[in-house]
């Protein structure tokens, strides 16, 4: 117990506009331990990691390294202080060699020239220490994901890191590669290196972790010895979110089948996905970030190609799918990233609303501005869109208002099937409730809604049925009556429950 922690963060608080990302969170790391950081999407894991990495500055709280309080001003300083970070997206230069990547930015010199021999020798030593047989002269692009990750580890160790932060290191690895990684981690532990391990995979907590800290909604929930905690306890800690919000739902009898997806397959991102959505119901699609939900939405909408599987709209098989074809068939997609995919930011509110309906409204290709104004005025009134003018550029509207504009666009095409991808992310509470109200209205009028959401209360509160996706597959279908937060999270994280 007298052991000096490598790292001790106390009462770390970080706010972003409108969000309390971290609320007085404590975290510490001992030498030679793996400390798992666990939490749902948006729990604050990444924010905490970025603060330790020097990418963000905390609003309040202190960080001590080896007992000395420090300010980590930037990522370079974090590196100097012995913090090595291995992000999910590797920071490697693909066309440089392994050795060059390990020493990038700190190339050893000799008489003004690169000291290649030293670079390779030291890289060799580092990789041997990891028990990795990787050619230091190979270009990184020619390596597999697991080996690339080892190059990242070697790169972190080359600056004498005492602390390694790994963000979902197993996300892209096969089972065998995971075993190798764990072996490496154990070797690093033996050398006294402390590892902060961020993961979504619950079973890994017991495989590799010593202690585990759970965050939820930016708050510190608890810390446990891994040997004394069960997976069920961990799930309970992660999801104990209280549902304060009321969800406006009038449940309808299930109508005719509107959308059917069978065996949709696309690489490793979608692996034989099948689902149905009927008129008059909201079907929730739950899962972790990266489970393939957005990929599914895009494939169904014809935005990305797929290798196998069929999509049926109102019983008709869709061939040669493309977004413009799906729109004609009555489908609308409200994408996760409104700014990048939902709206033309340089166009006005009015122009955005009619963009997908120009052919329907103006079959002679001539845009009748008077008619456009009438049509748009109706949606502004119906959806209570707050704007000083219909000609206002959408980039100057708030997030909630922008989402209403996207919704108006699909109402204007007379869509019958709506795919909402994270419909209320980044939207203030008032507008959120309004969007939920509109979704309820839509299904009351016979529309079919597929709703992707990482917000569990939203999934539970709004859905008639819930599909859970994990690693490109639908792993469960849960009816509304049987849906609980624990159940959904268990399926999403791959912990099978008998309940």
């Amino acid at each position: 117990m007298a052991e000096q922690p490598l790292l001790q963060a106390r009462k770390i608080t970080k706010t972003f506009p409108g969000i309390l990302a971290l609320d007085t969170v404590d975290f510490d790391l001992l030498p030679g331990e793996v400390h798992v950081l666990l939490g749902e999407n948006g729990a604050g894991k990444s924010t905490l990691m970025k603060i330790l990495a020097g990418a963000y500055q905390p609003d309040a709280g202190t960080i001590a390294l080896n007992g000395r309080e420090m300010r980590i001003a930037n990522p370079r300083q974090a590196q100097r202080l012995g913090l090595g970070i291995i992000y999910q997206e590797f920071n490697l230069a693909p066309y440089l060699t392994v050795a060059q990547n390990i020493f990038l930015g700190r190339f050893p010199h000799r008489w003004g020239l690169l000291d290649q021999a030293r670079m390779h020798a030291e890289s060799r030593k580092l990789l041997d220490g990891l028990n990795m047989d990787i050619d230091t002269r190979a270009k990184v692009v020619s390596l597999g994901v697991a080996h690339q990750q080892m190059v990242e580890v070697a790169k972190a160790l080359s600056v004498q890191s005492k602390i390694l932060i790994m963000d979902e290191p197993t996300a892209a690895l096969t089972d065998r590669e995971i075993e190798q990684l764990f072996a490496t981690i154990r070797r690093l532990k033996a050398q006294g290196i402390g590892i902060i391990y961020i993961s979504h995979r619950l079973q890994e907590v017991h495989q590799i972790g010593d202690r585990v800290t759970v965050l939820r909604d930016g708050k510190f929930i608890g810390i446990r010895q891994v040997s004394r905690v069960t997976v069920d306890e961990l799930i309970a800690m992660m999801v104990g979110r209280t549902i304060t919000q009321m969800f406006p739902r009038d449940y309808q009898p299930q109508g005719a089948e509107a959308l059917r997806v069978e065996g949709l397959t696309s690489g490793s991102r979608l692996r034989g996905v099948s689902l149905r959505v009927h008129a008059g119901e909201i079907v929730g699609l739950a899962g972790l970030v990266g489970a393939g939900r957005t990929e599914l939405a895009r494939a169904v909408f014809g935005a990305d190609p797929y290798e196998a599987g069929q999509v049926y709209v109102f019983g008709q098989q869709v061939r040669a799918a493309s977004p413009d074809r799906m729109v004609k068939l009555g489908m609308g997609l409200l994408p996760e990233d409104r700014k990048a995919h939902g709206l033309a930011m340089i166009l006005s509110l009015s122009e955005n609303v009619v963009l997908s309906s120009l052919q329907r409204l103006f079959p002679r290709r001539w845009v009748d501005v008077g008619r456009e104004r009438e049509v748009v005025a109706r949606y502004i009134a119906d959806l209570r869109i707050a704007t000083p003018s219909p000609r206002r550029l959408v980039q100057f509207l708030s997030g909630g208002t922008q989402q209403k504009v996207v919704l108006a666009k699909w109402l204007c095409t007379h869509s019958k099937i709506f795919i909402f991808d994270e419909p209320t992310r980044g939207i203030d509470v008032g507008a959120k409730a309004e969007i939920h109200g509109f979704m309820n209205e839509l299904v009351k009028q016979g529309a079919a809604v597929l709703m992707i959401s990482s917000d569990l209360p939203e999934i539970l509160g709004m859905s008639d049925r819930i599909y859970v996706m994990r690693q490109g597959q639908i792993v469960a279908e849960v009816p509304r009556e049987k849906a609980t937060q624990e159940r959904i999270v268990s399926y999403a994280m791959g912990h099978e429950v008998g309940r």
Binding site: P335, A344, E351, P388, L393
Partner: protein, 327 residues
């Protein structure tokens, strides 16, 4: 804060605020140049010379309208000068083969449309960057023109054809009339048809437009076809003015067209720009060229001076924007 946003946020409406701040800086440059040449060159301030400026700027305006449409889709057309040349050649060849003037003009314009179709297909179906696709077309069209003319000028002197380049209605030169019509038509297409909306939405956010159900490939393809047709029309007028098709007449025009577009405030990103601005950009180049002629600067020096003024005008524009003097 909200006041500023409200001023900026309205599209297509009159903007409130200080009136002179809304004048694009290139307009000031044009006015300054007119004043300068007016004071230094006696022959400059005459109705005849102004008509002359519009005549000299007419082909450039047509080319610049095409460049603007393409750049609004976040593309670029490097082939327009070569397409101008090639279309002039096919038009004159058609006349030499005995086709009527309207038929020959159609042959010329179709030549340009065919070139536009090829680049359009390369960009959309072939997924080539527009820079590469049109660079290829630039070489192909220029090479084909050399082959067809056997590397020398070919001549056409039918009065009805020459009228297109050298004639006038009342006192207005024909090229001026044609260019004005092209501009008006392009303006209407851009502002009053779904095609125009699609062009702007593609430039603003192609992925978003596609996910809104816009057939982005089709409309981009059509934009290149239109650009090809307009470049070809420029080639027809050029051939009519020169009474000949010269196999290198169009070289460098693509850059003038792009320069006029940029001077007019159209951005290479985000589909941001106006045809009205492009007219000012064309005016700047045309007035400068005319004025330099009038004050007797030799043809040899003109390209360097024009390049200098273009850079100065753009730096001026950027500086004003950085300092927040204009938006």
């Amino acid at each position: 804060m909200s006041g500023v946003l409200e001023e900026q946020g309205i599209r297509g409406g009159r903007r409130p605020g200080v009136p002179w701040k809304q004048v694009p800086p290139v307009a000031w440059v044009v006015l300054t140049m007119i004043a300068f040449f007016g004071l230094t060159a006696p022959g400059f301030f005459t109705a005849g010379n102004f008509l002359n400026i519009t005549l000299q700027g007419s082909v450039l305006l047509i080319m610049a309208v095409a460049a603007t449409l393409v750049i609004l889709t976040e593309g670029i057309d490097l082939s327009s000068g070569s397409v101008l040349t090639l279309a002039g050649v096919t038009t004159v060849l058609a006349l030499q083969a005995g086709l009527s003037v309207p038929a020959a003009v159609v042959v010329g314009v179709l030549t340009g449309m065919a070139c536009g179709m090829v680049t359009g297909l390369l960009v959309t179906a072939g997924k080539l960057p527009p820079f590469i696709a049109t660079l290829g077309m630039m070489g192909m069209a220029a090479g084909l023109a050399l082959v067809l003319t056997r590397q020398g000028a070919i001549y056409a002197d039918l009065p009805a054809f020459i009228f297109l380049g050298g004639g006038s209605l009342a006192i207005i030169p024909m090229p001026t009339i044609i260019a004005t019509l092209v501009f008006a038509l392009a303006w209407v297409v851009l502002h009053q048809t779904d095609f125009g909306r699609y062009i702007i939405s593609i430039g603003g956010n192609e992925a978003g437009a596609r996910l809104s159900g816009v057939n982005t490939a089709l409309w981009k393809f059509l934009t290149y076809v239109v650009a090809g047709a307009l470049a070809a029309l420029g080639g027809v007028i050029m051939a009519a003015r020169l009474r000949a098709a010269d196999p290198i007449v169009g070289s460098g025009w693509e850059f003038d067209a792009i320069a006029a577009t940029i001077l007019g405030g159209t951005s290479f990103e985000k589909g941001n720009g106006t045809l009205g601005g492009t007219v000012l950009g064309v005016l700047l180049i045309a007035v400068l060229r005319n004025g330099l002629n009038v004050i007797g600067v030799g043809a040899m020096w003109q390209p360097a001076l024009i390049g200098l003024v273009i850079i100065a005008a753009i730096v001026f524009d950027v500086l004003l924007k950085q300092r927040g003097v204009i938006r």
